[in-house]
Amino acid sequence: VSSGTPPLQGAPKPHAKALNCPKCGAAITLRALGQAVSVVCESCHSILDAKDPQLQILQSFDKIISPDPPLIPLGTRGKIRGTDHEVIGFERRSIIVEDTRYYWHEYVLFNPYKGFRYLSEYQGHWNDVAVCKEQPIIDPRVSINLEANYLGESYKHFQTADASTDFVLGEFPWEVRVGEQARVTDYVHPPRVLSKETMSNEVTWSIGEYMPGRDVWNAFHLPGNAPEAVGVYENQPSPFSTNITTVWMAFAAFATALFVLMIGFEIGAKKEPVFHATYQLNRGEPKGEASFVTDTFELGGRTSDVEVTTSAGVQNDWIYVNYALINQDTGEAWDFGREVSFYSGYDSDGAWSEGSRNDSVVVPSVPAGHYYLRIEPEADPRHSTIAYTVDVKRDVPVSAFYGLGFIALLLPAIVITWRSVSFERSRWSESDHPPSPIFNTESD
């Protein structure tokens, strides 16, 4: 396009310009030359006008506030969202909530092509922050601004507080002052936080995204490990919330499969009667001699469940039967004891009953073969003879197994839901909208 005319260019400019502090004479390095508005002298902590070639003093201090060294030293470069950025400024800010001062730190990052970004850090929780280009919308129908919408996503009000700037270092793209107050309102949609900062009449919106400390350490190649994050931060993504839907969907899928399986087995089960006999227990006989064996019966087909049902017409009485299901061919035995008892009567609440005249038990996975039962009944010796019936069926469906399976599926879903709820509760306990206690604890 240009025909012969060279582009207008002066001598190449150094990326950092060396200047001196007008107060103490210490060297001042400008890393974001031309874009920084304020720069802080590292030696006397005077805040200087970075736009002024003479570096006019904007604010100076008689006493240097105790330094709070940045975790990422000024001048460090790191890759944020694929772009190199240099740490050029650092400030410590604080809010007071119920007489306690809470501190956090902000780092100014600069790239001469892409401009400014920020990192914020509070007790090991980091956020990658940029100024919003799109205007967030606060729903005017909600009276106290409890919700904000940004790029079609809804953010919940977390906290509004007056923040003050306590300590500054390096360069800033605005006129920074120690002691400056700003009203900060945070709206959260984990892992993002939408912040509104109002200083005099200027409103600045920024959007932050949670960044684990180790990612910051990796991005800036910092030595050692990032400090451990303390507690749950306002926009920290819940390790459970993403799982919660998945877990419940998996639960629904498995529960459905289980149900289909159960129906299938219910239909497919042969419920084949293989043995039926009625016996009398003569209680006059001394105990221990009542043991006897049944006739042999055959369990055909595949290995299957075997249901042994004991029925007795007891009334305010009981019978206890010790069983052994014995394989005639191999001698393998399954021992189990069952009780049939039934009680009923009347009391002030009316009629009542307890127990049942039938008892069923399922012996799982019994191979095919020839079997017999060894039976040893017991009963209250004060009563007369008692009749009882023993039924054996093979290939019966077992609902209890499905119930267990259902609980096995339900438990992790409940545990994850519970943990997710606890996580959200600890998140919101730090906000302007703490959750009400689940259990009423005594207050003093």
């Binding site: 582009p7 150094p14 030359l33 031309g34 190199d84 790239n111 100024v131 009449n201």
Partner: protein, 211 residues
């Protein structure tokens, strides 16, 4: 397109207009502000040297906006109390004139829009909504800026300004509007914020220590 060629009435240097509709240019050598007349160039003033460049963009930077290529042919530099910003004059490859603003490396492309009803400067109020071309814009900030300098070709005469007022209007999307009160009649520019990489800029100023 033939490029109109003339010489600087002050120093005689060759002046080439890249854009046939340019009204004003600045002589690269003697910094004379030159206005095109029907027959010749007229010197109307001089501009001081601009402060050290802070923008990676410069005259002759090329790029793309949407499906249109552009080249940077001019610049207006403004300053206000919190810093400065550049309005880079773009010649789009469809012959239109556009603007790429660069405020602390926050980039936006906008175009002059005529025929809209515009509020007077005294009527402006932060938070007030305005509708143009079916879009609602909310006035976010009024900036009193002062004209710091010009460079290259511009679509109008613009060289001896003092303080001017700008009203910035934002939307829930990337679209924005600027009301420019530097003349008797306000001007409306409608545009959108853009990402640096989306502009696919070439021929950028080299910044030492950064690639």
């Amino acid at each position: 397109m033939t490029q109109p060629v003339a010489s600087c009435p002050n120093c005689g240097a060759k002046i080439i207009f890249k854009w046939s509709s340019s009204v004003q240019t600045v002589c690269e050598y003697c910094k004379s502000v030159l206005i095109r007349t029907d027959v010749d160039l007229k010197k109307v003033g001089e501009v001081a040297d601009l402060p050290p460049d802070t923008s990676p963009i410069q005259l002759n930077t090329e790029g793309n906006y949407g499906n249109k290529a552009f080249v940077v042919i001019g610049r207006i530099l403004y300053e206000y109390e919190q810093g400065g910003w550049n309005e880079w004059h773009l010649m789009m490859n469809d012959g239109r004139s556009g603007w790429l603003s660069d405020a602390q490396e926050e980039y936006a492309v906008s175009f002059l829009v005529n025929g809209q009803k515009l509020p007077g400067e005294s009527q402006l109020q932060v938070g007030q909504p305005y509708s143009w071309n079916g879009e609602t814009y909310t006035l976010s900030v009024i900036t009193q800026a002062h004209f710091r300098g010009v460079e290259g070709e511009l679509p109008f005469q613009y060289w001896d300004k003092s303080d001017v007022a700008f009203a910035d209007l934002r939307t829930p999307s990337r679209k924005f509007a600027t009301l420019d009160y530097s003349d008797m009649q306000p001007c409306l520019y409608l545009g959108e914020f853009v990402e640096f990489e989306d502009l696919k800029l070439k021929n950028l100023r080299q910044i030492e220590g950064w690639s």
